[in-house]
């Protein structure tokens, strides 16, 4: 069997008395789009934060690309090719849309300890950045100040930033959060086009999106993986229906 891109081994995390990650073990294959669903407060964001390195787990291991990264700080994980988007839009609001993405390109292309030369006119940074913007349909908004974008556009920018990092694994924390129907539909199209190019771990509330995109689904409830399987298996699982899907799918 091929080595999985990501392996979470018995992760645990508590905030005070609240156990938010409970013995989570997940494997992600190299060509897989793996979705994590679960009600609000289930601990999905906390899990993504542990994988990306913003929060340290209390115990357990995170193995990325065959390497134990549990103790590695977030920037170094990103440098290894671990890219993420944030549920609550996390961009550089005072920078232009293009600069937001160009900075992601800059992160993976040579040293940033360069003190001379105008970064904003480096074609080697702007070109890939424009390509990423094109991919999410934001190319015509490249010169706008990012803080002035509409909410749905910010969600698209968030995705473009992650794409520009040329990830080896993409963590997406509710990429459609707060986007309108039309915007969501557009993002789903973008994601299905990206599928297969690199593995993705997708946290999403929008069940239409999840069942349209995911190869496998894990259901997280009270910090614990209730079950993992193909969309069909998960949809048919009576425990899932009882605990979660029942009211989501009317």
């Amino acid at each position: 069997m091929v080595e999985p891109v990501l392996r979470l081994e018995a992760l645990h995390k508590s905030f005070g008395g609240l156990m938010v990650t409970r013995d989570v073990t997940v494997e992600l294959a190299a060509d897989e789009l793996h979705a994590i669903i679960g009600p609000n407060g289930a601990g999905k964001t906390t899990l993504i934060n542990q994988i990306s390195g913003l929060i340290a787990p209390d115990s357990g291991r995170i193995v990325f690309g065959g390497r134990d990264v549990t103790a590695l700080p977030a920037p170094e994980r990103a440098a290894l090719g671990l890219a993420r988007s944030f549920q609550i839009t996390s961009i550089l609001p005072a920078f232009s849309v293009l600069e937001n993405v160009a900075l992601a390109v800059q992160a993976r292309s040579g040293s940033s300890f360069r003190f001379f030369g105008r970064a904003s006119s480096e074609e080697a940074l702007n070109k890939p950045a424009m390509a990423a913007l094109d991919e999410v349909g934001l190319a015509d908004r490249a010169d706008v100040i990012a803080g002035r974008l509409a909410h749905g556009e910010k969600r698209a920018l968030e995705l473009a930033i992650a794409l520009a990092m040329e990830p080896k694994l993409l963590l997406l924390d509710e990429p459609m959060a707060g986007a309108g129907r039309e915007e969501s539909q557009r993002l789903i199209t973008v994601l299905s086009r990206l599928k297969g190019r690199f593995p993705m771990l997708l946290v999403e509330h929008d069940m239409t999106a999840v069942f349209a995109l995911a190869d496998r689904i894990s259901v997280l409830i009270y910090g614990q993986i209730l079950t993992s399987g193909t969309p069909e298996e998960v949809r048919a699982d009576p425990r899932v229906i009882a605990a979660y899907l029942g009211d989501e799918m009317e």
């Binding site: 390195g53 920037p75 992160a107 930033i161």
Partner: protein, 343 residues
């Protein structure tokens, strides 16, 4: 443009034979270098350093202490002044930059005061009283600081150089990361940037420029004292950059000029000038968000909007503005009193 004004100024001043004005403007330019260094941190990194005078002081003491040991050549003293300040910045920065916001302000202040008290305890070098410079710095036997005019233009050259350096820094790859760290450090970490390293580098560069200002200041005043490092000085530097407009290198220079000229002018007018100076600064800073440069930009926009071409237009526009203001004030007063009587 500003630099041209600085360059032409001595020519104008020689006609008036006001040697002291040359002295004043040399001092202004020296502090402008320190203000530029501070604006790099505050304006582009949101790192409000409240101990920046320490770097000036360290640079100045390096000159003073070396001169007291008969070392006056700037081949030695200049790198030492800059290097000592940079080293101090680097060492304190590794600690300060672990903190954020108010804690950062407090801890930079604490390190600044530490340097201040240390200088005051240097008994062989005058302690609290400070130390008169045994001789100004020389360069391989020449004495460039002996001629006031030459000294003036050297300072101007340093100011232009620092401005150019800061400008280049801000727009470079490095500067982009540094500015990004102010905007959203979490995003920067997720992109793969260890923001601490970038901030520490900027802090060290800023300290080095402060050291250069100290080197020049010691030579300009022929004197070094712990007062150069006091927190008043650090506070003044902050006021200067706020006054001119933060996050805009031109603002740092404009602010320094305005601050020091205003102080000079008021102290000529009256003995109790500080009683006017303080409130005046508060008023300017409150009125002009974005400092004097911000005010100028607002004025320019207003001129364009009101289409002001002559003095008459100007008076008419001011009239319109005041009437509008009065109407708005009356309206809001009425509203609050009405809602109060209702409630």
């Amino acid at each position: 443009m500003m630099f041209v004004a600085f360059a032409l100024f001595p020519i104008a001043a020689t006609f008036g034979a006001e040697a002291y004005l040359i002295d004043l403007f040399r001092r202004i330019m020296i502090f402008a270098i320190a203000a530029l260094a501070l604006d790099l941190l505050v304006g582009y990194g949101a790192l409000v350093s409240f101990g920046h005078a320490a770097f000036i002081g360290i640079g100045a003491y390096a000159v003073g202490i070396l001169a007291a040991s008969n070392v006056s050549d700037m081949i030695i003293s200049l790198p030492l002044a800059i290097g000592a300040a940079a080293l101090f910045a680097y060492l304190t920065g590794t600690i300060c930059l672990r903190t954020r916001g108010v804690y950062f302000i407090m801890i930079t202040l604490a390190f600044g005061q530490m340097a201040y008290f240390f200088a005051g305890s240097l008994a062989p070098y005058g302690g609290d009283d400070g130390l008169t410079l045994a001789m100004r710095s020389t360069l391989l036997g020449f004495a460039p600081f002996k001629h006031d005019l030459l000294f003036y233009y050297i300072v101007l050259g340093c100011l232009v150089g620092c401005y150019w350096l800061c400008r280049a820094l801000v727009i470079s790859r490095f500067g982009r990361v540094f500015r990004g760290a102010r905007e959203n450090p979490t995003r920067m970490a997720a992109l793969g940037f260890d923001v601490f390293r970038y901030q520490l580098t900027a802090y060290t560069i800023s300290g080095a420029l402060g050291g250069l200002a100290g080197f020049l200041l010691a030579n300009a005043t022929d004197f070094v004292s712990p007062a150069y490092m006091s927190w008043h000085r650090s506070g003044e530097l902050i006021v200067m950059i706020i006054l001119g407009g933060i996050g805009n290198l031109n603002g740092a220079i404009v602010g320094t000029v305005a601050f020091l000229l205003l102080g000079e002018w008021l102290s000529d007018l009256t003995e109790n000038w500080e009683m006017i100076f303080g409130p005046l600064l508060v008023v300017i800073i409150l009125l002009a968000r974005g400092g004097l440069l911000g005010l100028a930009a607002q004025m320019a926009a207003w001129y364009r909007r009101e289409n002001i071409l002559s003095v008459g237009d100007f008076i008419a526009a001011v009239g319109r503005y005041l009437r509008q203001l009065a109407r708005r004030t009356i309206k809001s007063t009425l509203q609050t009193s009405r809602s109060r009587s209702r409630g």
